[in-house]
Amino acid sequence: MVRLQLDPFLNELTSMFEHTTEKGSVWVTLKHSSDKSKVQRNKITTAGKELEYKCLVRATDGKKNISTLVGTKDHQRFQASYATILKARMTSLKKREKKDKRKAADVVVDKKLPKTTKAMDVDKKQQVPVKRSSTANP
């Protein structure tokens, strides 16, 4: 397990995502930890001092293990960088194309609705649920 600083950790995490594009997985684990052994923790608490907790972040691609500690001050910055990496890398997830097309159709229908009569509105509203139910089944 390689313990890194925040920025090298983020760089290594990015390269892990790059390596596992064709094959393999990336695991990221978050845990609340003080990074001290039980003995040290007991000593600190008996001395009456408060334990400092951090967020332990671990990442692996099945072969390489990396980890880092994120403290209270760094967590906003780390959170933002981490979110950017994930957004950029998680591109193979499916997008709801059918629903987008439906939403586009609904928007077109809605724009036309104010000009038409109430009777027409009822007809169009009845049509839309039918379409939704038929595509929701599979």
């Binding site: 995502f17 596992t20 594009t21 064709e22 094959k23 393999g24 997985s25 990336v26 695991w27 990221v28 684990t29 978050l30 845990k31 609340h32 907790y53 951090k54 967020c55 332990l56 994120v70 403290g71 209270t72 760094d74 967590h75 780390f78 959170q79 981490y82 979110a83 994930l86 957004k87 890398r89 998680m90 591109t91 193979s92 997830l93 499916k94 997008k95 709801r96």
Partner: protein, 102 residues
């Protein structure tokens, strides 16, 4: 393995689990680009909650959950996470306001 169907249910239960045992609870994320699958797991080694998806919209929801966990773990389990979720709530009415004015 307990796979949770509802996203909101998963979030609520995992935050509760973390607050119950902050020392043992861990949040694991597994992403497979080749399969296009994302699996989330929150466990305290007694109870386990999992969520799996292949949808891009769930990745956005997961980012919010990541923010919640980072805040809780870096600052402490007693942290008020309405700061994280509250920011979203305060943003939404403003956007709606602008829409109505237009």
């Amino acid at each position: 393995m307990v796979y949770v169907i509802s996203w909101d249910d998963f979030v609520e239960r995992s935050v509760q689990l973390f607050r119950t045992s902050p020392q043992k609870t861990r949040y694991v994320m597994k992403y497979r680009h080749s399969d296009g699958k994302l699996v989330l797991k929150v466990t305290d080694d007694k109870e386990c909650l999992k969520f799996k998806t292949d949808q891009a919209q769930d990745a956005k929801k997961m980012e919010k959950l990541n923010n919640i966990f980072f805040t809780l773990m870096a600052r402490g389990p007693e942290t008020d996470i309405t700061e994280v979720t509250g920011k979203e709530q305060t943003e939404q009415p403003a956007k709606r306001g602008r829409g109505r004015k237009q």
